[in-house]
């Protein structure tokens, strides 16, 4: 059983949901990312998703686009992030998940990147990689013992959801809405029935993400998913910066995590 699966099993046995923060790695530097990851775990994050920036992030809204640009301007490299993850592994209980687009992975080499990433990361999410194109990366990830986590969307047909649920490892990422990442005041009205539909076809843990930023939204979704992912709202706190950005991210993580214990 992978560290990600073990984490969900442990939470399930306690009747808790996973809270999964997303942060853009290297925004504004990897030193800050290190501090943010340690703070997030200390304040209750169960798993932590780190996004490696890509110049053309077509699944992301303005907040993560800007963060990606700041990180790239700051000179972050995939090699640097993999080193950081390796260093953090011994200090973290929470599994780390690498999120990035296909091209930086291809440029690094799929076999090399899965092998080296597995020294610090437990999972991998690639938002522009549907099942149909995933073969080579699946092989690399399996060999390296890295969970390749697939996404389903509100547009996915029931057959696709079943197929994707079968292939995903660690958990199934349910994209909550039709659109890019970024906070929404209102989530889709059919979100609950969509999550119930996914639940009906898989035993694997389901984590829901995209658009979620308020404790109330987390509370509403926690009943229908095993994990909740919040990204842009946290990245926005990093963007606002200031000396206490790390503490403010930590406070928000603690607030959101508390809801998943209810």
């Amino acid at each position: 059983m992978s560290r990600i699966s073990t984490t969900f099993a442990r939470l399930r046995s306690r009747g808790e949901r996973a809270f999964i923060p997303y942060l853009t790695a290297g925004d504004p530097s990897l030193e800050v990312t290190r501090a943010l990851v340690l703070e997030a775990e200390a304040r209750g994050a169960d798993l932590i998703e780190l996004g490696f920036p890509f110049s053309d992030p077509l699944a992301d809204g303005p907040i993560i686009q800007r963060a990606s640009q700041r990180a790239l301007d700051g000179g972050v490299t995939l090699l640097g992030l993999l080193d950081l993850a390796r260093e953090l592994r011994g200090r973290l209980r929470a599994p780390l998940i690498l999120m990035t687009y296909m091209n930086p992975l291809l440029a690094y080499g799929l076999e090399a990147v899965t092998k080296e990433a597995s020294a610090g990361f437990d999972g991998l999410i690639v938002p522009d990689l549907p099942l149909e194109e995933a073969g080579p990366l699946q092989r690399g990830a399996r060999q390296a013992g890295l969970d390749l986590i697939f996404l389903v969307a509100p547009t996915s047909s029931p057959e696709r959801i079943r197929l994707i649920a079968r292939k995903t490892r660690g958990f199934l990422y349910a994209v909550s809405l039709r659109g890019v990442t970024g906070p929404r005041a209102q989530l889709p009205s059919d979100l609950v029935s969509y999550l119930q539909g996914i639940r009906a076809v898989t035993e694997k843990p389901i984590s829901v993400g995209f658009g979620i930023s308020h404790p109330e939204q987390v509370r509403a979704l926690a009943a229908y998913a095993d994990g909740v992912i919040v990204g842009s709202a946290l990245v926005h706190l990093v963007e606002e910066g200031g000396k206490d950005a790390v503490r403010r991210v930590g406070d928000f993580v603690a607030t959101l995590k508390a809801v998943t214990r209810e």
Partner: protein
């Protein structure tokens, strides 16, 4: 001279041209792309769809476009006889309308009421706005802020046609970023909206579909050259940005012993790094939904392209071109900004035709090819668009360039 061989039937069922192409998109777009492919295949089988498209191509777009013998240019350069395939005479001034009519009819058939598109030079945006007006569909065009500045006339044309033009301020503020933003719009509005991609790029089925709608260029050329000479042309030349006019011209000749040359934009020169020539100086990767040649750094971040021609100012290229490069069937070369400007002026003075700066890259290459061929051999240059939109850019360069 490349060997004649039967053109393979590509792409395969999953949209691959050899290793290139595919569908590298968020899951949200997978079902819409599969539906689009189904709708396209059923439209292809429907004689009424084909009939309506052919009717619009002839009565609205002005097809067939002429094949013009460039007599003074031929004399001037010496060597092969130069013919110009006059896509610049299409309604809206470029070949883009061929594809837009096809896809807009498809959008209507699918019940979509809104068209969105990216544009670089504005030619595809104008063509999309035009077909939206023709069919009574809503239209929004995404255009990089940089391009809006250098193609003001086309922006005004799109607005006159009733389209909303949205300025894209992310990234390099050019065609690549406009395409990101259009994809993001599509992800959010996929139920009501049809994404009308303007080139043989993007995820499957777009590269196949756009090629199919553009191969009318090559079919007409084939018949026209045959009528004139009784034979096939010896050489075809076309510019390559995303690659739709070139693929439209080349495709019907892929199985024939005809030399084909695709001309990318070398910008300020390949060695300066300021160019838009992924096939000449890039490497394969994933951008905008397909695996193809790209301009990228060692770390897989996309490098901004540079070309005086907004329509070629794109760091990627359609996946079928990558395949044709790897198989060696098509030669790919690059022409610089200043070579394109020279060609623009030469064609204006000797033939009374101002080509689009995009097409001027193909003319610049013909200048190199023609003298090396013998008198009596035939070169066809695809004049993909007209140059009215570029007059200001050319004027500024003449004044500023000191030449």
């Amino acid at each position: 001279m490349p060997q004649a061989k039967r053109a393979p039937r590509l792409p395969d069922a999953r949209g691959h041209f050899g290793p290139f192409g595919g569908r590298f998109v968020p899951e949200t777009l997978m079902t819409p792309l599969l539906e689009l492919e189904d709708a396209y295949r059923s439209a292809q089988q429907d004689p009424e769809f084909r009939h309506e498209l052919d009717h619009l191509l002839s009565t609205y777009a002005g097809r067939p476009t002429p094949l013009t013998f460039a007599a003074r240019l031929t004399d001037h350069w010496g060597g092969a006889l130069i013919y110009l395939k006059r896509e610049d005479l299409c309604h809206t001034g470029a070949h883009k309308i061929n594809n837009c009519l096809g896809q807009a009819l498809l959008a209507r058939r699918m019940g979509k009421r809104r068209l969105i598109a990216e544009t670089g030079a504005g030619q595809h945006g104008v063509a999309t706005a035009t077909v939206a007006a023709l069919l009574g569909l809503q239209c929004e065009i995404y255009m990089g802020e940089e391009d809006i500045g250098r193609q003001a006339l086309n922006v005004f044309r799109m607005r006159l046609l009733g389209a909303k033009v949205t300025s894209v301020t992310s990234g390099s503020r050019t065609l690549k970023d406009a395409m990101n933003e259009t994809l993001r719009d599509w992800v959010a509005n996929v139920r009501t909206t049809y994404y009308l991609i303007g080139s043989t790029a993007g995820p499957h089925p777009y590269p196949m579909m756009v090629r199919d709608f553009q191969l009318v260029i090559g079919r007409e050329t084939r018949a026209q050259v045959r009528r004139l000479t009784g034979a096939l042309p010896d050489c075809l030349v076309a510019c390559v940005g995303g690659g739709s006019n070139s693929l439209g011209l080349f495709f019907p000749f892929l199985g024939d012993p005809v030399r084909m040359v695709g001309v990318e934009a070398a910008g300020e020169g390949i060695s300066t790094g300021h160019h838009a020539a992924p096939l000449t100086a890039g490497s394969p990767g994933v951008l905008h939904g397909s695996y193809s040649y790209l301009l990228q750094g060692e770390d897989g971040q996309i490098t901004p392209a540079h070309s005086i021609s907004a329509g070629l100012d794109y760091p990627g290229v359609g996946p079928e071109h990558s395949y044709l490069k790897e198989t060696g069937r098509v030669e790919y070369v690059a022409a610089t900004d200043s070579e394109a400007l020279d060609a623009f002026e030469t064609l204006a003075r000797l033939e009374g035709i101002m080509p689009a700066l995009e097409s001027a890259h193909a003319v610049a290459q013909a200048k190199k090819l023609a003298p090396a061929l013998s008198r009596g051999q035939v070169i066809v240059v695809c004049l993909s668009g007209r140059g009215d939109k570029d007059v200001q850019v050319v004027a500024e360069r003449r004044n500023g360039g000191g030449s």
